[in-house]
Amino acid sequence: MAAPLFEIENLHVRPVAEARGKQVGEILKGVDLTIGAGEVHALMGPNGSGKSTLANTLMGHPSYEITQGTILFKGEDITEQEPHERAKAGLFLAFQYPVSIPGVSVANFLRMAINAKREEPIQVKEFRMQLQHAIELLDVDRSFTSRHLNDGFSGGEKKRAEILQMAMLAPDVAILDETDSGLDIDALRTVAEGVQRLHDEQGLGALIITHYQRILHYVKPEFVHILMDGRIVLEGGVELVERLEREGYDQIRQEVGAGTSAVGAGDSGV
C-alpha cells in the first residue's frame, strides 16, 4: 500500500443547525478512511447513508460541522481549513450538481483556478497547450471552453466540464460525488474513461462516491467501502462491487446489523 496521503479518522459530522432550536443528529458517526497516493477508492451506500455529506465535509462545506475526528492531507491537519485552501493543497471535488456561473467562460474560469494555485500567472501558451490536451483527453468540442461555465449545459456537459476542470487542476485526490448520476451511457463512459486516464497518466487518486455500480465497470477501484447510516460497515476489494450487484444493500445491512431502525433506537435511548 502506498504511503497514506489522505487520512480520515473517526469523523463525526452534523449539519449546521438552522436557527429553529431543532435537535440535529449526526449524519456521520465515526468514519475512518485512508487513501494512499494514486489509489482509486469507491465509496458506496444507499440513499441517505451520508455519502454526499462526507464528500462535502472533506472539502469544507460551511453547512456541515465536524464534532469529532480529524482530516489529514499530506500529513497536515486540514480539518479547519477553508475550501480553497484544501483545493490549493491538492484536493478536488466533482459535484453531483455542478453550479452554473453565468458570465464566465470555461476557459477564463480555468485560468483563474489555475492561477489561484500558482505564484506567477500561467503563460498564455502553456495554458493553451494544457487546455488542448485536456480537451482531447475528454473528447469535448473546442467551442465548449468559450461557453459560460455550466450555464445552459446539459447534464452530460456539466459532468464533462467537471472532469475537464479536474484534468486541468491536476489534484492529488479527486472526490467524485455521484458523478455518474443522471448520465446516459455514452456520457458515463467518457467521464469514467477520463478519470481512468487521469489516474493512469497523472497518478490521480480518487474517491468515487456512488449509489450504483455501473461507473465502476469503467473505472476499476482497488478498494471498496460500504457506507451505511453514517459508518463504514464493510470494506474490501472490487469483489464487493460484484457482491452488491448480486445481493443488494439489504442483504449486507442484515449481515452487518447496521439497520437504520436499530441505530436510530440506540441513539434516542441515550
Binding site: E82, H84, P102, M112, A113
Partner: protein, 468 residues
C-alpha cells in the same frame, strides 16, 4: 434567483374604441409610479436661446429645490444641497487628472472635455472635420452653426419641471455639440467628458448630438469627479436626435467619486425612421443621483436596445427613471438593466414602457435584475406599462438575487478564495451587458470600476455572508 414579476400588457390593456380619442390608460403597476415621460414637444418651439434662458431663469428663481416622494418608501430630496454655496466656476488648468486616469487610450474619433463650466479641450480627427463632422462647445455651435443647432435645441427637453432643470436651461455654459452628417460612418468613438475637480462647483452641462440620415457612430460620455470632501452639483441636459436610418451606440459612464456630488440630469434620445440606438448608461456612483433617461422611437421602423447597469455603495442614493417610449409603429424596443448594491446604499429603478396611440405593431420588453450585496443595501424595481394601442406586445420581468453560497463554495473547491468567488459572480452578473458595449477600451474601464467597487466593499460583503 427568483422571479419577482412578469406581467404582460397587450391588447387587453388598451383603451379607446375609435369613437373618442384614445386615452392613455394605466397599466397594472402604474400606481407605484413617481415620474412621467416627457413624451411631447420640448421648450424649443421656435424660441431663441435668449428667450429660453430668460424663461428658464424665471422658473429657477421662483422655485424651491425639488423633493420627489413615492408613497411611503422612496424619497429623493435635494434639500440637503446647499445650492447658494455653489457656483458655475471656471475650470482648472488643462485636462483634469481624473480624465487622464480614467479614459482608455484606444483610437477615438474625437474628444471634448468640459471641466466645471468650461470646455478645456477639443480634439477632432481632421479627416472627419473635412467630411463635415462638427465637435465643439454648444455655445460656439450657436454662434457658428445657428441654422443647424436652433431647430433641434431643446426640441424635446423641457425647462420648467423643476428648479435644477430650469437652472440648467438658464445657466449652462460652453456645453457640447456633435454633428455627424448624413452618410458618415465611423467606428471609433466620440468621447464627451464632464469633469468636476473640486467641491463648490455647480456644473450645468448641456449636450446636443445630431446624427444625420444614414450616419453610423459611437458616443461615449464620461461623467467624472475627483475624490474630494464637500458638495458639488452636476445638473445635466442631454439630447440626441437620430435621423432616417442613422445608427448610434451611446454609452455613458458615470462615477462621481467619493465627494458629495449631486447629479440631477435628463437625457433624451429620439430615434427617427428606420434608425437604431443602442444606449447603455453605466451608473457607478454619486452621492445623490437622479437620472431621467428617455429613449423614444419617434418614427416608423425605428428600434432601440436600452441597456444599463448601476452599482451603488456606501450611503449613495440613486434614482433612475428609464423610459422606453414608442410614438409610432412599427417599432421595436428591448430594455435590459442590471443593478447591484453594497453598503447602506439605496437605488430605485423605475422602468416605464409607454406606447402612444397609433404606435401599432410595437414590440418591446423590459427586464431588470438586481443583486443585493449587503443587508442594509436596497434596490427597488418598479416596472410599469402604459399602452394606448391595441396591436402591440409589451411585457416586463425581473429577478432579485443575493450571493449564491453554493456557487461560492463551488468556486472555492477550485481554489478561488471567497472574495475572488464573489467577484466572479458579480462580474459575471454584469458581464452580458458590459460585453455588449463592443469597445474594448470602454469595456475595460467599466470592468475595472466594478472590480474596484467590489474591492472597496469586501468587508461589507464578508460580514453579510457570515451573518446568514
Amino acid at each position: 434567483m427568483t422571479a419577482v414579476s412578469d406581467a404582460d400588457a397587450s391588447a387587453a390593456d388598451s383603451g379607446g374604441n375609435g369613437a373618442t380619442p384614445v386615452q392613455v390608460k394605466p397599466g397594472r403597476h402604474r400606481e407605484a409610479s413617481l415620474y412621467h415621460a416627457l413624451a411631447g414637444a420640448g421648450a424649443g418651439d421656435g424660441r431663441s436661446l435668449e428667450q429660453l434662458r430668460a424663461a428658464a431663469l424665471e422658473v429657477y428663481e421662483s422655485s424651491e429645490l425639488p423633493v420627489w416622494r413615492r408613497s411611503g418608501f422612496w424619497t429623493t430630496s435635494l434639500q440637503s444641497l446647499d445650492l447658494d454655496a455653489l457656483e458655475p466656476a471656471a475650470a482648472g488648468e488643462g485636462v483634469p487628472d481624473v480624465v487622464r486616469r480614467t479614459l482608455p487610450d484606444g483610437e477615438r474619433a474625437g474628444r471634448i472635455v468640459q471641466s466645471a463650466a468650461e470646455v478645456v479641450s477639443v480634439e477632432l480627427d481632421p479627416a472627419l472635420a473635412e467630411r463635415g463632422v462638427i465637435l465643439c462647445s454648444l455655445e460656439e455651435a450657436f454662434r457658428d452653426h445657428a441654422e443647424l443647432v436652433t431647430p433641434w435645441y431643446s426640441r424635446r427637453l423641457t425647462i420648467d419641471r423643476h428648479k435644477l432643470e430650469a437652472a440648467n436651461a438658464a445657466l449652462w455654459r460652453d456645453g457640447v455639440f456633435l454633428h455627424v452628417p448624413a452618410g458618415v460612418a465611423i467606428e471609433a468613438p466620440f468621447e464627451i467628458v464632464y469633469a468636476i475637480e473640486r467641491p463648490g462647483v455647480a456644473q450645468y452641462a448641456r449636450t446636443l448630438v445630431l446624427g444625420g440620415a444614414g450616419s453610423e457612430f459611437r458616443v461615449h460620455e464620461y461623467d467624472l469627479a475627483e475624490d474630494f470632501e464637500g458638495q458639488a452639483l452636476h445638473a445635466g441636459a442631454f439630447e440626441m436626435y437620430l435621423q432616417d436610418g442613422a445608427r448610434c451606440r451611446l454609452a455613458q459612464l458615470q462615477d462621481w467619486g467619493r465627494g458629495d456630488v449631486f447629479d440631477v440630469s435628463t437625457r433624451f434620445v429620439g430615434v427617427g425612421r428606420d434608425a437604431h440606438c443602442h444606449w447603455l448608461p453605466a451608473l457607478l456612483g454619486g452621492h445623490l443621483v437622479r437620472q431621467h433617461l428617455e429613449l423614444a422611437v419617434s418614427e416608423p421602423g425605428g428600434d432601440m436596445a436600452f441597456r444599463g447597469l448601476l452599482f451603488t455603495e456606501e450611503h449613495e442614493h440613486l434614482d433612475v427613471f428609464a423610459v422606453d417610449l414608442h410614438e409610432t409603429g412599427p417599432s421595436g424596443g428591448d430594455v435590459h438593466w442590471r443593478g447591484a448594491a453594497t453598503g447602506e446604499s439605496r437605488a430605485s429603478f423605475e422602468g416605464l414602457i409607454q406606447i402612444d396611440p397609433g404606435a401599432q405593431r410595437t414590440h418591446t420588453y423590459l427586464q431588470f435584475h438586481s443583486m443585493m450585496l449587503s443587508p442594509k443595501a436596497r434596490i427597488d424595481a418598479i416596472p410599469s406599462v402604459l399602452v394606448s394601442a391595441d396591436d402591440v406586445s409589451a411585457s416586463h420581468g425581473g429577478t432579485v438575487g443575493e450571493l449564491d453560497e453554493t456557487a461560492i463554495f463551488y468556486m472555492q473547491t477550485r481554489g478561488l478564495d471567497r472574495a475572488s468567488a464573489v467577484r466572479v459572480i458579480v462580474e459575471g452578473f454584469f458581464e452580458p451587458l458590459i460585453a455588449e458595449l463592443g469597445n474594448e477600451g470602454l469595456e475595460d474601464v467599466v470592468r475595472g470600476k466594478v472590480a474596484a467597487k467590489l474591492a472597496a466593499a469586501r468587508e461589507d460583503i464578508e460580514a453579510y455572508a457570515t451573518s446568514r
